[in-house]
């Protein structure tokens, strides 16, 4: 049975986030559990990054497809909100993949989110030239999980996967 669970995890490792395709759903930490029942039915429990994450339906579909391709016909996807997703669950390999893709990975732990007005996360490393001389352009970026920074040295704007 354990082998089976490991096998399913190895398949999930092949399912990528539709918006950031270099990351697998395991890298993101959105797979919370896999439950293998005796009758070959498997339940995969996932959690959204943000409440309004529009990728959840696509992710659930991709998981089902991947399982079907590998002979698992009875797959149930369950959504959970508790505990709430955090960037602390992102794997180290996920962070380095993000960086080489041109997105700065979360640099701090989520408990250190700065709530003070006009204070921003400092010293976010530019994924292109690696300078830490960067500034926040907007707290909100191309997707809910990212904010927009600009490098003061190479001048290139870049996405930062914000701590959450």
């Amino acid at each position: 049975m354990n082998n089976n669970k490991e096998h399913i995890y190895s398949l999930l490792e092949q399912v990528c986030d539709p918006e950031i395709p270099v990351l697998t759903i395991l890298d993101l930490g959105i797979v919370r559990d896999v439950i293998c029942a005796d009758d070959q039915e498997i339940e995969i429990i996932i959690t959204p990054t943000y409440s309004g994450c529009p990728a959840m339906d696509a992710i659930a579909f991709d998981i089902k497809l991947k399982m079907l391709e590998n002979g698992f016909n009875k797959v149930k996807i369950t959504y959970t909100l508790n505990p709430a997703w955090t960037t602390d669950w992102m794997t180290e390999s996920g962070k380095s993949k993000l960086k080489s893709y041109g997105i700065a990975p979360p640099q701090n732990v989520s408990s250190r989110i700065n709530k003070i007005m006009f204070n921003e996360e400092q010293n976010i490393e530019c994924p292109l030239c690696h300078s830490i001389h960067t500034k926040l352009l907007s707290e909100f970026g191309s997707t809910a999980c990212k904010s927009l920074y600009q490098c003061n040295d190479c001048k290139e704007p870049f996405d930062y996967f914000k701590c959450h």
């Binding site: 959204p48 943000y50 409440s51 309004g52 994450c53 529009p54 959970t80 909100l81 508790n82 505990p83 709430a84 997703w85 989520s110 989110i113 709530k115 007005m117 006009f118 352009l137 907007s138 707290e139 909100f140 970026g141 191309s142 809910a144 927009l148 959450h164």
Partner: protein, 249 residues
């Protein structure tokens, strides 16, 4: 929180309606924001709000179906209810006005939502508690973003300052409703009022704005008595489901 199931359904729908209607209003800014980054910011906030409303509606639908043997879904709650069935706060349905009014409303609402959800977090109802915990993380960004804008405009140019004063005058009378409990709410809601005022005063001080006093407070949204604006919001939002019932995409 020991509520009867009807009260729990109404309360859950109220929370969903506030998020949905404000989200729908903010979405009107899509492609009309003052600059691209801020257009993206307000629509990101919209996405969070609509996500929150979906979570509340999914739970409400589950509760409704358990007691009434109906076939409620998150979509039927959003798209097939009439104006008088909506319980959102009046402030959520008001027209956007200018950027000053939009950001001030977001600041008032998010500050209230944060205080409310900090209490909801400790609710024995594990669904509501989980939605609250999840949402608070998003609301923190909304408060920071909108609060910064209130300061930037209030303490900005003469023009931006005057616009912020108009926004305060237009919106203040709709903030009393936050703290007046409907019969599906706990009466200790009033205890949040001073905490909310303190936060607003902090930001208003920095923004060189004054908190109005002795203003008549309009209520009604929580019990379905809305302004004339909600009907227009719904007719646009619901038109597709009303025209093509059951349409999916």
């Amino acid at each position: 929180m020991n509520k009867s199931s009807n009260q729990l359904i109404d309360y859950t729908i109220y929370l969903g309606d506030c998020a949905l209607i404000l989200g729908q209003r903010n979405a009107e800014w899509c492609a009309h924001g003052p600059i691209l980054e801020q257009d993206i910011a307000i629509t990101n906030i919209t996405l969070d709000l609509i996500g929150q409303s979906r979570n509340f509606y999914q739970y409400a639908a589950q509760l409704i179906n358990a007691v009434e043997n109906k076939n409620a879904t998150e979509d039927s709650l959003a798209y097939l209810r009439m104006e008088r069935d909506f319980k959102n706060l009046l402030i959520c349905e008001l027209p956007n006005g200018d950027w000053a009014q939009t950001v001030l409303r977001q600041f008032f609402f998010s500050t209230f939502q944060q205080l409310l959800f900090e209490k909801l977090k400790d609710s024995p109802d594990e669904h509501l508690s989980a939605i609250a915990v999840k949402s608070i993380k998003e609301i923190n960004y909304h408060i920071k973003w909108s609060g910064e804008w209130v300061i930037r405009l209030g303490d900005g140019t003469e023009e931006s300052h005057n616009r912020m004063i108009s926004a305060v005058n237009n919106l203040w009378m709709y903030t009393g409703e936050f703290f007046i409990a409907a019969d599906y709410e706990n009466s200790d809601l009033i205890l949040l009022k001073n905490k909310w005022l303190d936060k607003v005063k902090d930001i208003f001080d920095e923004a060189t704005l004054t908190v109005p006093e002795n203003v008549f407070m309009q209520t009604g949204g929580k019990t379905g008595n809305h302004t004339e604006y909600l009907g227009f919001v719904l007719s646009e939002m619901q038109s597709l489901q009303r025209t093509y019932p059951g349409a999916e995409w």
